[in-house]
């Protein structure tokens, strides 16, 4: 089963951060459209299922 923590876009939130929680991370994706590039970040829990996530890419 794919989970967020196994994804390339998952960056664990360092301890000491205001929003730190065990297993919690930032899901960071690069996006692009005709106007340009941007990055977005959403909080996710590492154990969350990512089977249906269109951005899921297994970490190498």
């Amino acid at each position: 089963m794919a989970t967020c923590e196994k994804c390339r876009s998952f960056y664990p939130i360092p301890e000491g951060e205001d929003d730190y929680a065990e297993g919690k991370g930032d899901c960071v994706c690069e996006r692009k459209d005709a106007k340009g590039k941007w990055w977005d970040s959403k909080p996710v829990m590492g154990e969350a299922t990512a089977d249906k996530c269109p951005d899921y890419v297994q970490k190498k």
Partner: protein
């Protein structure tokens, strides 16, 4: 080839008007504005090139990618549903906390200032807690609907019972609701439209940082608990502390949420630098941005970059996330001056050059240009060519009476001139002490056709702050020093800025009433025959029975009074419920008054600032002039004939229409017209409105302006006795002459307008269109400065300019794709000409282009 102004004989000399920039000689009149943008750096050129504009035209977004996001709706609803047992102000804080902790944060390529209001840079957020109707505008339109649309609909429907609209409707009759929602004699009330505005107290965040605000709130809670536990329990005194403790607690929750959200941006910058970015220079920038977001707004800003980033985070929270509010009300050259000084002059923190500062201000302008709220279609329609109303204020005097213009003022003006964006607009406080260098930059922006800065009289408006202060309910209105700290709240009306006492809601001041339409109903005994076909106002008698002009005047007054009473009642009913269900814990946390007194921002009003906007007043006033002249004085026509002609839209009455059209008109220094118009503004509009006392305990004063409503309401107003056909646009701004009717030159306009005592009005918009060849000539600044000094001596509240030729506007109508940089002043805002509807474009072209003649130069006393 460009057209030079023809030479003139003046004081025995032949005066030539060569272009100030000789290179313009070879640029055709039809494309001048396409050669004026000069972004300071390659970065801002790129950012402008890829700017995600959110402009709308005819109520539709101009760019096809713009859609509504669902994230804000979803996250605030989730929090609100799970928090039912808590004090409401805590629920509001938790709602913000849930949104900021879970929302998507965004960093775009090339940006130096980060943060956005929705989950995708092409999206706009929605506000179901403010207006169900505004949300449904999006949900029902497949092009812009939030996805998944079924979920969005469910979320919007959840809020119906909890919304401001539902709470407020209870207090009105069905007839009153029908009138209010018809957008006929006045603007739809804020509780239904969801349109709001605020003046954020940025100063406390920039100077203190949010950690300090948290500390203050904690201190107040501790002190309150000590009082609660003290000997000799006293219920009437001490129970008051309970809601205060809740409020301070909500402040702590919201400040912590904002700090954590800002730091999430910092973390994202760092992740991009370390994992995505390959350019070493950009990597370094991103790491600096990460450091900035980690420190601000938690801590005080130390340099200019800190200041702009901190301000941007606060702007997003207060204008787009905690609640939707229009505006960009602040005085950045005062707020940021110490930081500019630290970075640019002293080089003590974030050392940079003046040009680097200009680049940062250009970046900020582009951030504003990409920012838009989920306004209703109606409100998108009334701001044609813009994404929202964003107006900042510069200049004026400091608290100690010294000149408020500084190098930071200049950097902001240079950025505006260089990057050429419609937003944010700028208001410049004109004072005789203001330095010439800065006034020249103001001129350059005006000359280059930006339509801003719009210029406000510093002395009159400072005095007005003191006038309102006397009505303060806690005897803590503006002091003499604080009265110098004022900004335009939105397009036109001044209000305090600073650490406290600022305007927090549009139910205090804002919204419009339509004089011309009310006159039309007066002429028909309260009945609206041309649009709604209903009895809108009270029955005030058949005009055929009116024996004197005064009879008509008094009937009109009664109609106006009924409408304005309903307007202000609706605003105060909104305020009543805003206090109970739309608390703003973060806004309260950063206001010194709310913090000190433990009173919420919607409830505490230290400085009254009541106003309402009479729009289409010159159409109404010119109509009164024509009626008095042709029916009562000359007795050339009867009311019966006039009503028949109007109901026929003048068809079959062409000669009669010519007479009414040619009757004396406002703006020509004509004593006959001007006396009636003066009475209309002073006795009628101001006189009636000032009899009202609003929530804050002060009077409500008129702010004559127009936004895009002069077109929208024009289309709903039947033919008028000034000779206007039904459906045509009305006058384009508060006290501006009707388009094309000011034929006696620019100084005659000033003489007319100066007859209305500015102190009886809160503000009045004056549009002027000046000759482009004169303004672009090497004599342009000298002539304009003499004109402005006369304007100032006349004690006129406001003036703003269009400097663009009809050749260029006509060329843009033919080939819009070649004229993306052509900007025009519409009303209290500027717009890209090509984003306007043809109807709106034509109203700009129809404004009289004032040329200067020898008599004007003589009157101004200008030496050429």
């Amino acid at each position: 080839m460009a057209t030079r102004h023809k030479p003139m004989e003046y004081k025995g000399k032949t005066i030539e008007f060569p272009f100030d920039n000789p290179a313009e000689e070879t640029i055709p009149d039809s494309e001048v504005h396409e050669h004026l943008a000069k972004p300071t750096t390659e970065r801002t050129k790129r950012l402008k090139g890829r700017c995600r504009w959110k402009h709308s035209a005819g109520g539709e977004f101009v760019e096809g990618d713009v859609k509504a996001g669902i994230e804000r709706m979803r996250l605030i609803t989730e929090a609100y549903k799970t928090d039912t047992g808590k004090p409401h102000v805590i629920r509001r804080a938790n709602l913000l906390d849930n949104l900021l902790n879970k929302c998507t944060v965004i960093v775009q390529e090339d940006e130096l200032i980060v943060g956005f209001n929705a989950e995708n840079p092409n999206f706009v957020p929605l506000y179901p807690e403010q207006s169900y109707m505004a949300c449904m505008d999006y949900i029902l339109d497949p092009k812009i609907a939030p996805q998944p649309v079924e979920e969005a609909k469910e979320l919007a429907e959840y809020w119906i019972e909890h919304s401001l609209q539902k709470k407020c409707e209870t207090y009105f009759t069905q007839h009153e609701i029908d009138v209010m929602y018809s957008l006929t004699t006045f603007e739809v009330p804020g509780f239904a439209a969801g349109f709001n505005s605020v003046v954020p107290t940025y100063e406390t965040v920039i100077e203190d940082g949010l950690l300090k605000r948290i500390e203050l709130a904690e201190h107040h809670i501790a002190a309150a608990k000590e009082v609660l536990g003290a000997a000799h329990w006293n219920a009437p005194e001490r129970l008051k502390l309970l809601p205060q403790i809740d409020l301070w607690q909500s402040m702590i929750i919201s400040c912590k949420a904002v700090i954590a959200w800002a730091r999430r941006h910092g973390r994202l910058c760092k992740i991009i630098a370390e994992n995505f970015e390959t350019n070493p220079k950009r990597k370094e920038e991103l790491l600096k941005m990460a450091d900035i977001c980690q420190r601000v707004p938690a801590e005080p800003a130390q340099g200019l970059w800190d200041g702009l980033q901190s301000k941007w985070f606060v702007f997003l929270v207060l204008h787009a996330l905690e609640r939707y509010s229009s505006g960009f009300a602040h005085k950045p050259d005062k707020l940021l001056w110490p930081l500019y000084k630290a970075s640019v002059i002293d080089k003590s923190f974030q050392a940079m050059s003046h040009e680097d500062a200009v680049e940062l201000f250009e970046c900020e302008r582009l951030k504003i240009s990409e920012n838009a709220p989920g306004k209703s279609k109606g409100f998108r329609s009334v701001f044609p060519g813009s994404n929202d109303l964003f107006i900042l204020t510069l200049g004026g005097l400091n608290r100690d009476g010294s000149d408020g213009c500084n190098d930071c003022t200049d950097a902001i003006l240079e950025a505006a001139r260089n990057i050429r964006t419609t937003e944010p607009s700028i208001a410049f406080r004109w004072h005789p002490k203001g330095r010439l260098k800065t006034k020249n930059l103001v001129f350059q922006c005006v000359r280059d056709g930006l339509g801003y800065p719009s210029i406000k009289h510093d002395i009159i408006n400072t005095q007005q702050m003191l006038y309102y202060a006397q009505f303060s309910q806690n005897n803590n209105g503006a002091t003499l020093e604080e009265a110098h700290d004022w900004v335009n709240v939105l397009c036109m009306s001044p209000g305090l800025c600073g650490r406290r006492k600022t305007q927090k809601t549009r139910s205090e001041g804002g919204s419009a009433i339509f004089s011309a339409k009310i006159l039309e109903t007066t002429l028909n005994n309260g009945y609206d025959w041309s649009f709604t076909n209903t009895q809108l106002g009270p029955q005030t008698g058949n005009v055929e029975d009116f024996k004197t002009f005064e009879d008509l005047w008094e009937a009109f007054r009664e109609q106006f009074r009924w409408n304005i009473d309903l307007c202000i009642r609706a605003k105060d009913v909104s305020r009543y419920w805003e206090i109970r269900i739309l608390e703003n814990p973060f806004l309260s946390a950063i206001d010194d008054g709310c913090m000190e007194l433990g009173r919420e921002s919607m409830e505490l009003s230290e400085q009254p600032n009541g106003w309402h906007n009479p729009i289409t007043s010159i159409t109404a006033a010119n109509s009164l002039v024509a009626i008095k002249k042709l029916i009562y004085d000359d007795k050339k026509y009867t009311f019966q004939e006039l009503i028949k002609a109007l109901h026929s839209n003048w068809e079959g009455y062409e000669e009669m229409r010519k007479d009414f059209l040619n009757a004396p008109k406002w703006g020509n220094d004509d004593p006959y017209a001007d006396e009636i118009v003066k009475d209309f503004f002073e006795d009628f509009l101001s006189g009636e409105m000032r009899k009202i006392t609003n929530y804050s305990g002060g009077p409500v004063m008129p702010v004559g302006q127009a936004i895009g409503l002069y077109m929208e309401i024009g289309s709903r107003t039947g033919p008028t006795p000034d000779g206007r056909y039904g459906g045509e646009a009305c006058d384009d701004g508060g006290i501006s002459p009707y388009m094309g009717t000011d034929k006696k030159g620019p100084t005659a306009v000033l003489r007319s307008v100066s007859k209305v005592n500015s102190h009886t009005q809160k503000a009045n918009l004056l549009n002027q269109r000046l000759s482009a060849p004169i303004m672009r000539s090497d004599k342009g600044f000298k002539i304009w400065l003499a004109y402005m000094n006369t304007w100032c001596d006349f004690e006129i509240d406001h003036i703003q300019f269009n400097v663009v030729s009809n050749e260029e506007m006509a060329a843009a109508q033919k080939e819009p794709e070649k004229h993306a940089d052509l900007i025009v002043r519409v009303a209290g805002f500027s717009a890209r000409f090509v984003d306007l509807s043809t109807y709106a474009q034509n109203t700009i072209m129809a404004r009289h282009e004032q040329d200067f003649e020898v008599k004007d130069f003589e009157y101004l006393g200008v030496e050429l």
